[in-house]
């Protein structure tokens, strides 16, 4: 456990997203599965990961666009619930995530006599992300500075270092826990931050959890 800062500072990056409409739309669950197979991976990313960037404050009933559409527009609550438990953090790639979502919908449809459709609801519109990485200028060397930055940064910073890190680094560690572990050598705190599941809340809740963890560590004393 260190009492001082590190020579290896943490540089906070944020991001901004532009949504591109793909012009593909599904009005029933079979079409949803068929289009899921052909859309670019950026679209899978948009509807599962950056869902949280768009819903950064209010926690939604379902944690991805597919589950939300099936639950709220098709009103097929069984499939919506099954899609809700698909945790993108458990997949090593977007391709693997895509395959599992398609297979889950196919399995659900195989047990039904008719294909559920949106009916009076709106169709599912496929989109994809165009993400721009933005340096924030925040650079910290101690846990206290880290805590101060987390409290002040644009919430896209939290998204970038937790959600984007998962895909970028292809590992379970997020950028925060990696730096806390390797830079500050606070492995217990790093383990707690690593265990945070970002899919079970909003980005603001995630920010709040990170702050609580920092405060508890700082309260133990000896940390700068």
């Amino acid at each position: 456990m260190t009492t001082a800062g590190t020579d290896n500072p943490f540089r906070f990056l944020g991001c901004s997203e532009i949504q591109e409409i793909l012009g593909k739309q599904a009005e029933d669950e079979r079409t949803l599965a068929e289009l899921l197979e052909e859309v670019p991976l950026d679209s899978i990313y948009f509807h599962t990961h950056s869902f949280f960037l768009r819903h950064r404050f209010i926690e939604r009933t379902y944690p991805n666009d597919f589950a939300e559409w099936v639950g709220e527009q098709v009103r097929d609550h069984v499939l919506a619930e099954r899609l809700s438990v698909v945790d993108p953090f458990e997949y090593s790639s977007l391709e693997a995530l895509r395959e599992d979502v398609v297979s889950l919908i196919d399995d659900h449809l195989s047990g039904l006599a008719t294909v559920p459709r949106a009916g009076f609801g709106t169709p599912f519109y496929f989109s994809r992300s165009r993400i721009l990485e933005i340096p924030t200028g925040w650079e910290v060397r101690t846990l206290r500075e880290f805590r101060a930055a987390i409290a002040e940064v644009d919430v896209s910073v939290i998204y970038f270092h937790v959600f984007e890190a998962h895909l970028r680094l292809q590992r379970e560690e997020n950028d925060f826990s990696a730096w806390i572990r390797n830079g500050l050598q606070l492995s217990e705190l790093a383990d707690r931050m690593r265990a945070l599941n970002p899919y079970l809340g909003s980005l603001e809740r995630l920010r709040s959890n990170l702050l609580t963890m920092c405060d508890e560590q700082l309260a133990k004393g000896g940390q700068e």
Binding site: S16, I18, Q19, I21, G23, F57, L132, T136, V153
Partner: protein, 400 residues
């Protein structure tokens, strides 16, 4: 607007936003960003551009805004084009089309269209793309083009496909195009007369001027008198509610001068209201921003139950004032309301009545939903988010 004025948004934007926008603008310093539109005043787009352009300048972007000029014939043709793109069965004769192209060419000669990114708003100036000299060009469509009149769209599409991208307000407003179709939601400016904070005294005085008595919860609908806005449906919902709650209904819309359809709708609304002293039907001038602000802040619940709607930014305006909104599924209304969190999405008059009754019976829920609604708008529908979208667009397109 100087940098100090940009700082005013720090008080209303989400945490970290202003610093984040400054960093984002660092990536596009010195870039030229040109907006071209048909009008400088009137309409939500012009309202937002009047603030966006100076803010971008303050951030070090060479932002400009050009407005095209035209004749009465040109205005008539472009009105037909805009109506046709929104589904009305208008045709354009060869002569009309020649007028459109001729006036466009004259504008192209008169305007400085050199920029790294040129954003052309709506159909009126869209054919300027034929005179492009350089830079990236994007067509920004503010209309609901979900079901355009086919022959007119075929004619107009030949201009749109020459752009590098098109921007729409909702996925369902877009048509099939071979260029990238981007989505950017409209926004509201929290510092304008329509949205700024008002004191209790200002609200009370405003209600007095509008002859709206106090003492009963106000249900409010702000919409022009148009059959698609369904004021009659709102009156029916109010009557169901009125059996249980002593409330007041205020219908506020812009005047119907020179608009026969609007006059007819207004007459029907007045007839439906009968002599109920608790129904107030207001005709406001287009620039009645202060009055709308007063009404939205005085209301308990805002109803935007249109049958057909564009993006419907009035929903965000009401939510910004901390009011729960009960809205239909048309246009962008359901993109703004989070059902059950910031208000309710309803599908019928009865549904609207039920949700109004529920909220009036549970003032705590009403207050909580209103507070959530305001935070939702703060993060998603303020001009600061819109500014970030434009800076991102500039960076992404000009780096390609």
């Amino acid at each position: 607007m100087m940098i100090g004025e940009l700082e005013q948004y720090r008080e209303v934007a989400p945490k970290g936003t202003i610093d984040f926008l400054r960093r984002l603008s660092d990536l596009v310093q010195g870039k030229q960003f040109l907006h071209v539109s048909a009008v400088r005043y009137g309409g939500g787009m012009a309202e937002i551009l009047r603030r966006l352009v100076p803010v971008m300048k303050a951030l070090g972007i060479e932002a400009r805004w050009e407005v095209i000029a035209g004749t009465q014939e040109f205005a008539d043709v472009t009105r037909r084009i805009a109506d046709g793109l929104q589904g009305r069965p208008h045709t354009i004769t060869n002569e009309m089309y020649a007028t459109y192209l001729d006036i466009t060419a004259r504008n192209a000669r008169a305007l400085n269209l050199d920029a790294d990114l040129v954003v052309v708003h709506d159909p009126q100036p869209a054919a300027l793309i034929d005179h492009r000299k350089g830079g990236k060009w994007v067509w920004r469509c503010h209309l609901d083009m979900g079901r355009p009149y086919r022959s007119l769209w075929t004619l107009f599409r030949r201009h749109v496909v020459k752009y590098d991208a098109a921007i729409f307000s909702l996925p369902e407003f877009a048509q099939r195009l071979p260029i990238p179709k981007l989505l950017i939601y409209p926004s509201i400016d929290p510092l304008t007369e329509k949205n700024r904070e008002l004191s209790r005294a200002e609200i009370a005085q405003g209600l007095d001027r509008l002859s709206i008595p106090k003492g009963k919860p106000i249900l409010l609908q702000v919409a022009r008198y148009d059959r698609f806005k369904d004021q009659l449906g709102t009156i029916r919902a109010y009557r169901i509610v009125k059996k249980h709650h002593n409330c007041r209904l205020v219908l506020a819309g812009s005047g119907v001068l020179h608009d026969p359809e609007g006059e007819a709708v207004l007459a029907e609304v007045q007839e439906a209201a009968g002599n109920d002293p608790d129904i107030h039907i207001l005709q406001l001038p287009p620039e009645a921003n202060r009055e709308i602000n007063v009404l939205q802040r005085a209301a308990s619940i805002v109803v935007q139950k249109a049958l057909k709607e564009g993006f419907g930014v009035a929903v965000s305006e009401a939510m910004w004032k901390g009011k729960p909104v009960i809205g239909g599924t048309a246009g962008g209304v359901s993109a703004q309301i989070v059902d059950g969190a910031t208000g309710f999405i309803v599908h019928s008059v009865e549904g609207a009545a039920f949700r109004i009754r529920y909220l009036l019976s549970n003032p705590g829920v009403m207050t909580r939903m209103g507070a959530t609604a305001k935070e939702h708008v703060r993060r998603n529908f303020l001009i600061t988010r819109h500014l970030g979208d434009h800076l991102t667009l500039l960076k992404l397109l000009c780096s390609e």
